[in-house]
Each structure stands twice: as C-alpha cells, then as structure tokens.
C-alpha cells in the first residue's frame, strides 16, 4: 500500500511542473501588458513606463523572469501583486485560499449521499412511478444552468422567504444557498450513475446467488450490491470535484463570495501575472490532490487495484 501511495504521490510533480510552465507561457504571450494597463491615461509616457517596467522586473528577458520566478517559488515566494502596489501575492489570496475548495468539498459531501440514495432507490423501483419521477428530477437538476437556479433560489429563499441572505460571506447562512446550488447538478449526475451501476450489479450472478441463499433484500442491497456500486462512483467523484471547483467561479460571482475563482477572474483582467499564476497552480494542486485521494480510496475499497499496482 505504501509503495502504491508513494508512486501516486510522485506522479503529482510532473503535473505541477507542466502547470507552472504552461501558465507562465500563457500569461506572457497573451496580448495585453500589465504596465500599459497601469499607465492608463499616462499611456505613451516612456519615462514612467521604463521606470515601472524595471520596478516589476518586466524589462528582463522572459527566460530570466521565468528562472527568477521558479527560484522564488522554491523558496516559497510567490512575488508581489501587480494590481495592489507592494502587496505580496500570498496576502492577496490568503483569505480566499480555502473558500473555493471548501465550497466544492461541502457540495460534494452533500451530493454523494443524496445522489447515491436517489440512484439506488430509482434502480430498486425500476420502471415504477417513483423511478420515472426521480429521473425527471435528475434531468431537471442536470439541465438547469446553475446561474438560473441561483437566481430562482435567491428570489425564493432570500427575497421572498427571507431565510437566507442574498449574498456575502460572514455567517454560515451565507454558505447554504451556494453549496446547495453547487450540489444539485453533482447529485443529479451521481444519481444517474448510481442508478445505472446498481441496475448492472443487480443482474450479476453473485447477487442472484445471494438471493437464492435466502438473504434478506436489505442484506443483498447493502452488503452485496452497494459496495460494488461505490467503486466506479468514487472515481467519478474526483472528476466531479474538479468541475465543482470551476463551478465555484460562477457561484462566487453571483453570491459575492471572495473566493479564489473571483480573484482569478479579476487578476486575469488586470493582467496581474503573479496572482493568476498562483491561483492556477493552486487549482491544479487541488485537482491533483483530490485525484490522488480518490486513487488511494479506490485502493482501499477494491483491494485488487493496489495489488495490481504494486505488481
């Protein structure tokens, strides 16, 4: 198991290195220049432009800037923000750091049990009114875009009923609507998968054997079927988490949550290279870590996988 975990862990590095190189290149070669943006009305003021360029180290060749940046990273130094004069990148993203992954994790935690329960229920009640009803809800959950859902929820639960605040990020109440809105499509997706997998498992020989042995339906479902449904679901959870993290960008904008997603957009528009770089790296890291976690969990749930990996 340790060897399996180590090998997976080592696999993270090339991913991060690739992310650093790609974002650095994308930032520098995309049209638009932070100094011209800073200059504003002073555009064309050569003296000021040269001074600013030197101050931010942008007058050096790109290769030198890259080496400088990477060696800074190695020391844990992410550089200074371009948009906020003199403020370190770490300070710009410090407060926001946990918000996006937290929203995504909370939504996933909410979506997994609901999704699996709905899916399994639909599979067990296959071709009944309950099944059709659940499928209808799932289709709606998957196809209504989250900004539309958000507008509807805000109108209903915040403006009309007054149960939750419209937007902001101070009390736990502020987190409820965004998490639910993120969780709905994720739960719907999981439920559809769970239903398909469950139907497949219920056809398997060992399930038939278990039933033939005279085991109660509850034991057949809980012990023999559900565990086998969990394996493929787990793999998908990693992907869903990635989707949720990206989804937070929209939700954070609508609910005015100061998360990484919102800062990412603002820094991209301001050509704040150091902040953009740091956020892209963080997103990559979150993605990689959750996939790593899924791999490890996968090995735990299905012993055959870690055995194969070690061989």
């Amino acid at each position: 198991m340790t060897a399996y975990v180590l090998r997976r862990l080592l696999g993270l590095f090339p991913v991060l290195v690739a992310a650093i190189i790609l974002t650095f290149a994308a930032n520098r070669f995309v049209p638009g220049d932070p100094i011209t943006i800073m200059l504003g009305d002073q555009g064309g003021n050569v003296v000021l432009e040269r001074k600013l360029r030197a101050e931010y180290g942008l007058d050096r060749p790109v290769s030198v800037q890259f080496v400088d940046y990477v060696s800074g990273l190695a020391r844990g130094d992410f550089g200074l923000s371009f948009r906020y004069p003199g403020v370190p990148v770490t300070q710009v993203i410090k407060d926001a750091l946990w918000i996006s992954p937290l929203l995504a994790a909370a939504a996933l935690t909410l979506a997994i049990p609901i999704g699996i329960a709905l899916g399994v229920l639909a599979a067990l009640r296959r071709n009944t009114l309950a099944d059709t009803g659940i499928i209808l809800i799932l289709v709606a959950g998957l196809s209504i875009p989250n900004f539309a859902l958000a507008a509807f929820f805000v109108w209903g639960f915040a403006l009309k009923l007054g149960w939750f605040p419209v937007a902001g990020w101070t009390t736990w109440k502020h987190a409820v609507l965004p998490v639910v809105i993120l969780a709905i499509p994720a739960a719907a997706y999981l439920a559809r998968l769970a239903r398909t997998f469950m139907l497949e498992v219920l056809q398997q020989d060992y399930v038939r054997t278990a039933r033939a042995k005279g085991l109660s339906e509850r034991l057949v479902v809980w012990r023999h079927s559900l565990r086998n449904v969990l394996v493929p679901i787990l793999t998908v959870c990693g992907l869903i988490f990635g989707g949720l993290i990206t989804g937070t960008i929209v939700v954070e904008t609508i609910f005015n949550i100061p998360g990484l997603g919102r800062i990412a957009i603002e820094s991209i528009f301001a050509r704040d290279y150091p902040v953009t770089m740091a956020i892209v790296m963080l997103f990559t890291l979150f993605y990689a870590v959750i996939n790593f976690a899924v791999d490890v969990l996968y090995g735990l749930v299905d012993p055959r996988i870690r055995v194969e990996a070690v061989r």
Partner: protein, 518 residues
C-alpha cells in the same frame, strides 16, 4: 470509516473558514463598491474606488459642495502674495487626528515631505507638489527638509513656489499624521487610522469589505452613525438584489446599463439621486493629421450634424445631457450661458459645399476611433455624418492601452473621448485638454489666443477674474470649432428612504459625515 473522518473534518473546516463573525451592525451605512480599493494609504492613493473610501478618512485644505463651491476644510483662510509665488494658509484650530494628536502646520509640511521622499511610491498627489520650492531636492534624496514650506506658527503655513500655482489650496491632498510611519512601520495603514476625517479606518478584508467607524472627536461634530461599510460586490446584478433585500443602504451603479435599469424600475427610481458627472466629452479633430480639418467650416459641419438632444434621449435613455462647452456644471468656472450648439443639417451641408466637399465628395477616407464600450456613440455620429453630410466615416474600435498610447502620442486623426475633473476647477479641463503645451492635448489643438488666456489664468489668484478668463478662453475654443462638446453622463445613486444626508455631487458622493439612519 475514512469517509466519516473526512466528513467530520470538512464540517469543522467549514465552520472555521466562515469565521462566524457577528452579523453586520445595524447602524453602519452599507455602500457597494464594484472592486476592492486599489490601495488604502493616503501616500500611494491614486484611483477611483480608493478615493471613494479614503475621502471619508483623510481631508484636504478645502472641500467642495455639490454645486462646486469651494469651502474651508482643514484650512480656514488662504491668501496669495502679490506675485502669486506664495500662499499663506491659516489652518483650522482644534483639529485632531484619529491618533489623538493635534493637527497643525508641521503636519502639512511632514505630509508633503512623506509624499516627496525617494521611493515613497506616491500617487496622484505628487504632481501637485512639483512647483514647491525645494521639492526636487527632497525627491532626489538631497535633503529631507522641504524648504518651500515654512511653518510660521503652529497653525499657519507658508508655501513658496517656483512658478505661480493659484489652485494650490484646492488640490486633493490627504493630510495624515506622519508619526504613524515611525510608530507602526511602512504597513501602518492596515493597522491604524491617521486622518482627520469623520470616519476612521478599521479594517480591509480583501474581496469582502472595508470597514470604517465614526470619529467621535471630528471637528465638524461626531457622525450620527456607527460607521461605514464598503461592501465589495463585483456583480451589479448581485448588488441590486442585495439592495432590494436590505443588505445595502446605498447602491452606486458603476455602469450605464445598471443606471438605465434603475430608471425603468419605479421603486428604485423614486429613491435615486442624479447629477451630471464632472466629465467633458468632445470630438478630437487633429488638423495636422487630416488636412480637411484645417478648414473651420469642415469642423463646424461635423459638429452641427450631431443632434445632441435626440442622442441623449435615445442612446442614453435620458441618462445624459447635451454638453455644449468644455466645462461641466458643478465645477468652479462653469459658464451656464455658453452658446447652445443647434442641430442644423442644412447649414452643415452648405458649409461642406463651401469648403469644396459637396456631399462629402473629395474628402480623403476618414475613421473615428474609440473603445468598444463606446461603440454605440461613435456609430451614431458616423450615421449622422453619412445622412447629413453624405460622408462615409468608418468605425475604428481599438484596445484600451493601444488607444490611449496612440492618443497621447497625438497619432489619432479623429476620435471622441472624455476627461474627468481631478479637482473642481475648470482649469483642469481647459489647460490639460486644450492648451497646446499639455501632453493630454490629444487632438494637438493649437490656438495662441487660447494659450495666452489660460497662461494668464494660471497666475490669477482672484477667482472672479480667473473665471472670466476661463469663459473667454472657452469661447475662443468653441467659436473656432477647435472642438465641440457632446454629452455629459448622469451619475446615479440609489439611497434607502430611511437614510438621510447622502449627497451625490458631480465629483462622486461627498463624505458621509452628516448621514443619519432611522
């Protein structure tokens, strides 16, 4: 097992990260800002949102009311010497800094020295200090003593200039207690408040809000509210919903789209305040780059082919007013009796024919440049020129930085653009945009008569005389059709009915010191 542990730690983490701070205090005035302030210290201060926040914390010699009238603030009296090379400024007694120390002449000098210190990264205010005697030596690090500023007594300061600077008392300085730099280090502004304004800085949570609290010892009387909370709300849709749900007391729309939406909503409209923005807009016709513009008749024809009334009604849905001159109301020196520019297609056609371009025949190809957000405006002008003059003017939509660089280099033959007042005096518009020596004279307009009047105005300390010089200069510029005004956008602010004392001026919202909440 593992998943249960994971779930538990997730819940724990959620609780911690949300911080569970107390709900917003009921008596804070909550105002939206559409992005974080760019900075929060009075030295590097240079931008719009930072200004909206910091004007409540830091003050200047003078202040301006909503009609553009200059009133005393930290200074009570200011008099220029006969040669205009000296200002004697008498300061208001009994003014305290938020730090508890008294404000006086030494602080004026120290604030200027802090701005000029080498490596201070001073922003906007630096340009207003350049003419003080000895400023360059301080900037170059030769001395720390700004010799041009003399402390006559604890409450009287005399400022000497290398060249007359009659507007010195109205420049937007932000005086602060420089002692905090020694006490708290270079990052003092995140930890303490060092102004004299009605509100003290408390905290800035990036991406969330800037919190200010009432300054009980404010010389103008302690504010009647507990504080101000500037809530960072980038999405305007969200800002409107928050206002409707009572999570904001003041809604400041940043875009014309939202302003228009407010005007269509009867309830919001009833709570709205409106005033023309302190911003001129104009046609830039570069006579060096496009020869036909050398002919005054051509310039006039282009100007009078635009129907300003129809445009402000149709294109802006009433959220703009025609602008005929190059000074806006609410700015000192505004001339309310400036001549209207009538929409006159017949005269325009005749002028073009007289100039040798009947129906636009014989004109070299022409493009009008601007940025994408202003596409509709230039499309309207181009359509008018096509219909009235028979001239095909193409639209040249440019990227912002490229556009500004080319404007500043004087390389754009034809454009429409604007200029927002940095201080409430017409000189800001006239000298910066139309004086031939100004780097921001982007149409490269040159009129010796106009220059002479402005040069004289810059050394005339007496307001009434100076305003007459402005009017004469503006008339010269307009009679020559060197340019023509286009429109003034209307600023809109929506205020809850239980909030009183919020004043929208042409130069943004005045400090909130007199606000009450019922």
């Amino acid at each position: 097992m593992i998943s249960r542990k994971l779930a538990r730690s997730l819940v724990l983490a959620t609780t911690m990260a949300l911080g569970m701070t107390a709900a917003a205090q009921a008596r804070d005035l909550r105002i939206n800002i559409n992005a974080d302030p760019e900075m929060i210290d009075p030295i590097t201060f240079s931008a719009l949102i930072a200004g909206d926040v910091l004007r409540n914390v830091y003050e200047n010699f003078t202040k301006v009311d909503e009609n553009g009238k200059v009133l005393p603030a930290l200074a009570l009296k200011w008099t220029a010497s006969a040669d205009n090379l000296n200002w004697r400024i008498e300061l208001r007694p009994n003014v305290k800094f938020h730090t508890g120390r008294p404000f006086g002449a030494k602080d004026v000098k120290a604030s200027f020295e802090a701005l000029l210190a080498p490596g201070s990264k001073a922003g906007l205010q630096l340009q207003y200090l350049q003419r003080i005697v000895g400023a360059k030596d301080v900037q170059d690090g030769k001395t720390k003593d700004l010799v041009g500023v003399k402390i006559v007594s604890p409450l009287v300061v005399e400022v000497a200039f290398t060249a007359p600077d009659v507007l010195f008392p109205i420049y937007p300085f932000m005086f602060f207690d420089t002692q905090v730099v020694a006490d708290k280090g270079p990052n003092w502004f995140m930890q303490t408040s060092a102004g004299t304004g009605p509100f003290q800085f408390v905290s800035w949570q990036r991406g969330q809000n800037v919190q200010l609290k009432a300054f009980k010892d404010y010389y103008g009387g302690a504010p009647k509210i507990d504080g101000l909370r500037f809530v960072v709300v980038p999405s305007e849709e969200t800002a409107v919903t928050m206002y409707e749900a009572g999570e904001l007391d003041v809604l400041v729309p940043a875009s014309t789209d939202l302003s228009r939406r407010i005007m269509r909503d009867a309830k919001l409209k009833a709570q709205a305040q409106m005033t023309p923005n302190a911003q001129i807009t104009f046609l830039g016709m570069n006579q060096n780059l496009y020869a036909p513009f050398k002919d005054k008749r051509v310039r006039e024809a282009f100007c009078i082919s635009i129907d300003r009334d129809a445009m402000t009604r149709g294109l802006f849905g009433g959220l703009a007013q025609p602008l005929y001159g190059q000074i806006t109301p609410g700015i000192a020196g505004y001339n309310p009796s400036v001549k209207k520019i009538a929409y006159d297609p017949e005269r325009a056609k005749k002028l073009m024919a007289d100039a040798g371009f009947p129906n636009g025949r014989g004109l070299p190809p022409l493009k009008i440049a601007n940025l994408a957000p202003f596409r509709n405006e230039i499309a309207y002008y181009a359509d008018q020129w096509k219909q009235v003059l028979g001239i095909q003017v193409d639209l040249d939509i440019q990227e912002r930085a490229t556009f500004l660089r080319s404007l500043n280099a004087g390389e754009t033959p034809f454009f429409s653009w604007g200029w927002s007042a940095g201080y409430p005096d017409a000189l800001y518009y006239l000298s910066q945009v139309w004086h031939s020596k100004s780097p921001f004279n982007r149409a490269r307009y040159s009129n010796p008569g106009f220059d002479a009047l402005i040069d004289r105005a810059t050394i005339t300390a007496d307001d009434a005389t100076r305003y007459r010089q402005y009017h004469a200069a503006e008339a010269l510029l307009l009679d020559d059709w060197g340019t023509c005004g286009l429109f003034m956008r209307t600023a809109v602010t929506v205020v809850k009915p239980n909030v009183k004392g919020v004043v929208l001026s042409p130069m943004r919202i005045l400090p909130y010191g007199k606000v009450t909440i019922n």
